[in-house]
């Protein structure tokens, strides 16, 4: 069963600038419309790692609510679509219900979905107990 974790009406240019400043990622496709246009992009592209951080927090909040004994051990992803400035998106999780939450072989999936419900990124997540 899929559970919706987070919904955004879109990240602003100011937020992209702020993430760029914090992370030191000064790739101009994230803040310079002319460069993005020159690269054939329809707008400023959101940093993949910014989205990663948002997805991580959404899962972490979900785990804390479900059981504070667990934390994220591994998170892996393959980006298949791009998220642009002001694009709405949402994050959903699908737990592997055939396994214990902290089973490292559990195939828990997290979806970063665009406004049309298409996956821009699918994550695999492994959880462990905080203090085993």
């Amino acid at each position: 069963m899929r559970v919706r974790l987070f919904e955004s009406s879109g990240l602003s240019r100011a937020e992209l600038m702020q993430y760029g400043w914090i992370s030191g990622d000064h790739n101009p496709i994230h803040f310079d419309e002319k460069v993005a246009d020159g690269r054939g992009l329809p707008g400023l592209i959101v940093h993949g790692m910014f989205l990663y951080c948002i997805v991580y927090k959404a899962i972490d909040d979900f785990l804390l609510e479900k059981s504070p004994d667990f934390r994220i051990k591994e998170l892996s992803s393959k980006f298949s679509g791009m998220t642009f400035v002001n694009d709405s998106f949402r994050v959903e999780v699908e737990l592997d219900e055939s396994k214990e939450l902290s089973d490292p072989s559990a195939r828990n999936k997290v979806f970063l979905l665009n406004k049309d419900g298409e996956a821009n990124c699918i994550f695999q997540a492994v959880f462990i107990r905080r203090n085993p």
């Binding site: 992370s23 030191g24 496709i29 951080c53 927090k57 591994e74």
Partner: protein, 114 residues
């Protein structure tokens, strides 16, 4: 750290405590960008395609973290209409020589011959 936690939407209490979300290491990419500079790759030709994080230890505000990135795999396709290179960069994070996290990502470099 406060700015990061605030941007991510953490509560005021969390913003001001001394915890560090594990994913903050995603922001410690200065050495990655140094690799692109050394390889003379324009940043605007890069696209992130895959990324894996393995979080081993919790970190705290004040910890001194050392990052050690390495290019672990290179694939090229240059004899095509759209030549490209992919780089796999693996970075290990240490606190007092203790391995605390590892991340590996694939970077797609467009227009590799331009």
């Amino acid at each position: 750290m406060r700015q990061f936690k605030s941007l991510m939407g953490y509560s005021e209490e969390k913003v001001h405590d001394d915890t560090v979300p594990d994913i903050f290491i995603a922001c410690l990419r200065e050495a990655d960008f140094k690799i692109f500079e050394v390889l003379d790759i324009d940043l605007d030709r890069l696209l992130h395609t895959t990324q894996t994080f393995d979080f081993m230890k919790t970190i705290f505000v004040g910890d001194e973290i050392v990052t050690r990135p390495a290019v672990t795999k290179v694939r090229t396709k240059l004899n095509s209409a759209n030549p490209f290179v992919t780089l796999e960069i693996t970075t290990e994070y240490f606190r007092n020589e203790e391995l605390i996290a590892r991340t590996s990502g694939t970077i797609f470099v467009r227009e590799a011959l331009s």
